[in-house]
């Protein structure tokens, strides 16, 4: 019982919310990309975690292996992710949505295996570290200036993560409300109608996918900063699926929904660590994933528009 009390009191501790807060921002950013692809453009990007991995590792390898400056590596990593998106999208975006879904999930797995097996470059399963020193230096001096206690060491990252989220959120919101975003929604509804009106539906799908790749890369190197260490098993396919849960809980087609969804799902995932259930840790861990599965099933069955999505759109889309 005392343990239960301890566990509950933990929710009051700032460190918990700092950790969760950073992950919420990171996964919200990842999911913004999915929202643009799935919610707006109707292309089934099932490999978003692949771009997260590409972004994170491109940054790390450029810094540690190629000796680039950390700051230079960030835009470079983003561009590399975009290049991956374009190369993958060019052939596969011509295909039916289902084929594309499978192609992207395969892409993400290939990325993970290559990272794991190209030890020379990526450190393989041993992982990479030492890429974030430039950042740590700043973070630590910030920590000193703000007079933060050790357990608040992550506050600077928390701030950066949320600022990044805010910026990307604003950009995507603007994109979504622009005629460009309108065109994406049109493509989602019916590519042929769009083509018949003189607009290149394929090009819009490719642009949407490329933007998602860039956004995924950003979430990738934020995760890298959070872990201060990269290893391939941080990029399992299940990350994309959890990101789906965030996407649909918040609501398809709604960017604010992404943030709400990311927050709810992440708090539930982390919260379950504190529950003192009469179960083995292993069962609790399984329970956590069963929960994710049920969320996906029930939301899609009962409230396909999620919390903030527009029911009308979901229904009319059928």
């Amino acid at each position: 019982m005392t343990t239960l009390a301890v566990s509950l009191s933990a929710f009051g501790r700032p460190e918990f919310w700092i950790g969760v807060g950073i992950l919420v921002a990171i996964y919200a950013i990842l999911t913004l990309g999915l929202q643009l692809n799935i919610g707006y453009t109707g292309i089934y990007n099932f490999g978003q975690v692949g771009f997260m991995a590409v972004g994170a590792y491109a940054m790390a390898v450029l810094v540690v292996e190629a000796g680039w400056s950390f700051w230079a590596s960030l835009p470079a990593a983003t561009l590399i992710a975009v290049a991956f998106a374009v190369l993958l999208g060019l052939p596969t975006l011509r295909l039916r949505t289902h084929y594309f879904a499978i192609a992207t999930i395969a892409f993400a797995e290939i990325v993970r295996y290559v990272i794991q097996n190209a030890d020379g470059l990526t450190g393989g399963s041993q992982g990479v570290l030492g890429f974030e020193i430039a950042w740590q230096t700043i973070a630590l001096s910030l920590q000193a200036d703000l007079g933060l206690a050790p357990e608040l060491a992550l506050v600077p990252l928390l701030i950066v993560a949320w600022v990044t989220l805010a910026v990307l959120f604003a950009v995507l919101l603007a994109l979504g409300r622009s005629p460009w975003g309108r065109m994406l929604r049109a493509v989602r509804e019916d590519e042929d109608a769009v083509r018949a009106l003189g607009k290149n539906a394929y090009a819009y799908k490719l642009q949407s996918f490329a933007v998602a790749g860039a956004v995924g890369a950003v979430s990738g190197y934020l995760l890298a900063l959070y872990l201060s260490f990269l290893s391939p098993d941080a990029f399992l396919a299940s990350v994309t699926f959890i990101s789906f849960a965030m996407l649909i809980v918040g609501g398809l087609g709604s960017f604010p929904g992404v943030v709400v969804g990311a927050f709810i799902v992440q708090v539930v995932l982390e919260g379950t660590r504190y529950l003192q259930l009469p179960l083995t840790d292993h069962q609790v861990a399984s329970l956590r994933y069963i929960l994710i599965g049920l969320v996906l099933i029930l939301v899609m069955a009962l409230r396909p528009q999620g919390i903030l999505g527009r029911r009308q759109e979901m229904v009319l889309r059928g």
Binding site: D192, H282, S286, Y289, L294, R317
Partner: protein, 335 residues
């Protein structure tokens, strides 16, 4: 967003039969070249051994892929839970065998029935009602992913994470002529798998139900207009897919010797590769695709590090989608 698209936008504008034939010739040429390369790389014995290994894996993939493809063809549903159906089959057999003390063969049959029930149950509980509500492709696909999580981790929750084994002899093996070897269980697995696959072909070809299944998965509307009782046939397809998935699971678990709750999910992408290679929706295609993926993965180990074996399967998948999305054996469907 209904996942099925009007005729005007087939993935590739109407592919003339002529090009198909051409591609088939090219395929043959490629096969010859590949064979030559193999022999150069491996030497006869190694190639033969890799082929034996590949046939075992391939037969299992084929069993898993046929159901996946039929379900996709008839429902335009990518059943992400299909891999976990294999796992379900394996654990059902384990429970019936170790738990209820049934002999393994009986236990296996129980497992097939159980997996079929799982498939049909989900159709009645989930898919049918959702279709009735006119659910979109995205809704269904995400529900399938959710189902995959639930099945896999429910198994993990009950059975625990530790690896299990079915009571089969995985250590002894037979000498085949030419210095080749095959595991005793693997031999059985391969023989059973191919026997069942042959039966599947016969069933799909000659039985009216089989024809209806293929018709449905070729073109739902056409099937409906030609008076196929789709509701009933879909149930049959789920049962059929379930039985095959269950069998694949049991055989795979037996051949591996040791399995855990991730066993099926791990090969899901290889199953996708098989389905794509065969042409989505084509039962025969998936069958050939499965065997091919198995062979390609094993042959790859003659050229490159074994670490890449799985990736080779995925790479084939992406390559096929890029070069020939309608698949290579899709033509079979028209037979």
């Amino acid at each position: 967003m209904t996942g099925r698209q009007p005729a005007v936008s087939v993935g590739r504008p109407g592919l003339p039969a002529r090009r198909g034939a051409l591609a088939r010739h090219r395929g043959a040429a490629a096969a010859v070249a590949a064979a030559a390369a193999l022999l150069a790389a491996g030497g006869l014995v190694d190639v033969a051994q890799a082929t034996v290994n590949g046939l075992t894996a391939g037969a299992i993939f084929a069993l898993g892929a046929v159901g996946l493809s039929l379900v996709y063809g008839s429902l335009r549903l990518i059943n992400f839970a299909h891999g976990d159906f294999l796992t379900f089959g394996a654990y059902a057999a384990l429970l019936a065998n170790a738990g209820l003390g049934l002999p393994l063969v009986a236990a296996a049959l129980v497992a097939l029935a159980a997996t079929a029930l799982l498939g049909v149950g989900m159709e009645l509980a989930m898919w049918r009602p959702m279709r009735a509500r006119g659910a979109g492709a995205l809704q269904l696909i995400l529900m399938a992913i959710g189902l995959a999580f639930v099945v896999r981790y429910a198994i993990a929750f009950v059975a625990g994470p530790e690896p299990r084994r079915l009571g089969v002899d995985v250590t002894s093996s037979y000498d085949l002529p030419g210095g080749l070897r095959i595991g005793q269980t693997e031999l059985w697995v391969t023989v059973i798998a191919f026997a069942v696959l042959a039966a599947v072909v016969v069933l799909l070809r000659s039985s009216s139900l089989g024809k209806q299944m293929r018709a449905l998965s070729d073109d739902v509307d056409l099937a409906e207009t030609t008076g196929v009782d789709t509701g009933r046939v879909i149930i049959v397809i789920w049962a059929f897919a379930g039985v095959l998935a269950g069998l694949a699971g049991v055989l795979y678990a037996s051949a591996l010797g040791s399995f855990d709750p991730n066993v099926g999910f791990i090969i899901l992408l290889s199953l996708f590769a098989a389905v794509i290679l065969g042409g989505m929706g084509s039962a025969y295609g998936a069958l050939l695709g499965g065997v091919t993926i198995g062979l390609v993965q094993e042959w790859s180990t003659l050229f490159i590090d074994v670490r890449w074996k799985l990736v080779v399967g995925f790479a084939v998948l992406v390559a096929v989608l890029t070069l020939r999305p309608e698949g290579f054996f899709g033509g079979e469907r028209r037979l």
